[in-house]
């Protein structure tokens, strides 16, 4: 089994849109329950909007704190799922069940491990 981080991106919406998305709550709850039951769900959360985001950078020893997200994009990070799947096919199938995928985008990223003899640096050098 490997872990996959599913990053949920969508355009920020107005009040009417927010109400519509909220009405889909039962679908989300059902999805979360079924992921839990299948033993795939490691963790999942929704995030507050990007107007609450703060970005930190340390340059030449100086800490810079900026109000806002790291980059301004049309679709913003709205939440995530961390899933434990047997392979990418399973992760992609679960990503397709997320209601947000119908109006936003779900980016699926395999989690990288740095333990034992399978270090990714060696894999990189091997090409």
């Amino acid at each position: 089994m490997s872990e996959y981080l599913l990053l949920l991106y969508a355009e920020e919406t107005d009040e009417a849109g927010a109400a519509e998305r909220l009405s889909e709550m039962p679908v989300w709850n059902e999805l979360n329950a079924s992921l839990q039951e299948a033993g795939l769900l490691v963790s999942s959360n929704a995030l507050h909007g990007i107007d609450t985001a703060t970005t930190v950078r340390v340059r030449h020893g100086e800490t810079e704190i900026t109000d806002g997200p790291f980059a301004v994009t049309k679709e913003v990070l709205a939440g995530y799922y961390l899933l434990d799947c047997s392979d990418i096919d399973e992760a992609l199938a679960q990503a397709g069940r997320i209601p947000l995928a119908r109006y936003g985008s779900v980016e699926v990223r395999p989690v990288r491990y740095f333990d034992g003899d399978a270090t990714s640096d060696q894999a990189d050098a091997q090409g």
Binding site: I88, D89, L92, D117, A118, Q122, A123, Q126
Partner: protein
């Protein structure tokens, strides 16, 4: 690898490489669980074969010899390379396989399954389409990175990076090495056939680049098409695709004249068509038709077969284009359908269909639409209208061969 009559060992290695490499590699990848390592081990085995076969003679079963040699090379590499996941378990399995004198009886089915696994992994939708094409040619076709780069007119390091990145994604994202389950199979097969047809088209329709390399792409796509039919003999569209590629390829020698100019279908010297390709294509089409249901490749193959008759049945061609338009609607199909209707029922009937398409702003800059419009206007006797449409089509031509052909037709029209 050159085949030389004075070096039978080298010739035997080249022939084994061409005919058995993909099957041996497919099984080795399953055993070692790593694309790169399996490819490297197999490459070692072929290098060993040259020396060994020159010294000791060509073995009775070269494929089996390569399988054993590649497995032993993989064991050596696994012992040294600590970066491979499940290394210990993989090693134990390989060593136990190596100890068996005869492969188990189930091997024949396993070889078919392994090749399917390899195809489905190389054509996995999580990989970029260009990467799927490159990986399929590299891993299954056995083309070198340099050959693939030349075929697609990109620099060799760029192509190398594309292939390495794809292999790394297979490993890091855990793209599974398996035949998809039944409920995913139809969609995934569509994807595989698309990759094969793309390879064929790249070789067939590209007008730039090394001619020999492009011919090699067509031959490779046909080899892949035959392999798909062999692995999935009940898949109607696999036969449809093979038929389509063969029937196009049969006409390849007649498509360009001695001066390198494009020759339109109706004006080709039929004696130049490749008979054995045509025969094999018609057989594959027959097989596809019997299997049903007709898919897009089968319909296109049937249209091509009808075109190849000395007196094409345009009404039937128009009807098949109609069926194709329902199955996979596209402007190409609509324009071809209008042209076929023009031949079957007269230019006015074709022009009526064209008028409907000319209202679509998305097609305003679509060159084939204006070329077909010009052709139909010419047949209807509207010389001035035809000339305007030809000019429009010429202005929109991105490729020199098309442009030259349209200019020739315009000149012929003006000459009356």
């Amino acid at each position: 690898m050159n085949e030389r009559s004075d070096d039978p060992a080298a010739a035997a290695v080249a022939s084994t490489y061409r005919n058995e490499r993909a099957a041996v590699l497919a099984t080795l990848i399953r055993h070692v669980g790593d694309f790169q390592l399996a490819e490297d081990a197999l490459q070692d085995a072929f290098a060993d074969a040259i020396t060994s076969w020159r010294r000791d003679g060509i073995p009775a079963n070269p494929g089996a010899w390569i399988t054993v040699a590649a497995r032993r090379r993989a064991i050596d590499r696994l012992r040294r390379d600590r970066s491979v996941a499940d290394r210990t378990a993989r090693l134990a399995e390989l060593i136990s396989l190596d100890a068996q004198e005869h492969p188990p009886m189930s091997e024949a089915n396993a070889i078919i399954d392994d090749q399917l696994r390899l195809i489905f992994t190389c054509c996995h939708p999580a990989l970029d389409l260009q990467a799927r094409v490159a990986l399929t040619l590299r891993v299954i076709g056995g083309l070198t990175t340099g050959e693939i780069a030349r075929a697609f007119l990109v620099a060799e390091p760029t192509m190398g990076k594309r292939i390495v990145r794809a292999k790394r994604k297979i490993a890091d994202a855990h793209i599974p090495y398996r035949v998809p389950p039944d409920h995913e199979l139809p969609d995934r097969l569509v994807g595989v056939r698309r990759v094969v047809y793309l390879i064929f088209n790249e070789g067939y329709s590209a007008t730039e680049g090394d001619r020999l390399v492009r011919d090699e792409l067509c031959s490779e796509a046909i080899r892949l098409g035959r392999l798909l039919c062999q692995l999935m003999p009940d898949d109607a569209e696999a036969w449809g695709l093979l038929a389509l590629m063969l029937l196009h390829d049969a006409r390849r020698p007649a498509r360009v004249d001695a001066d390198g100019r494009y020759v339109a279908f109706g004006e080709q010297d039929r004696s130049l068509w490749d008979e054995s390709r045509t025969r094999e294509g018609m057989q594959a089409l027959g097989r596809a038709v019997r299997l049903r249901p007709p898919g897009q490749y089968q319909l296109q193959a049937a249209i091509t077969a009808l075109h190849m008759q000395s007196a094409p049945d345009w009404a039937q061609i128009a009807e098949l284009y109609g069926a194709l338009a329902k199955l996979s609607p596209s402007p190409v199909v609509e324009v071809n359908r209008a042209a076929a209707v023009g031949f079957a029922a007269g230019p006015q009937a074709g022009l009526e269909l064209i008028e409907g398409l000319r209202g679509d702003p998305a097609l305003e800059r679509y060159q084939p639409l204006h070329a077909a419009h010009a052709e139909l206007l010419r047949q209807a006797g509207d010389t001035a209208g035809a000339a305007r449409a030809y000019e429009r089509a010429i202005a929109l031509s991105a490729n020199a061969v098309d442009r030259a052909e349209l200019e020739r037709r315009l000149a012929a029209l003006r000459a009356g």
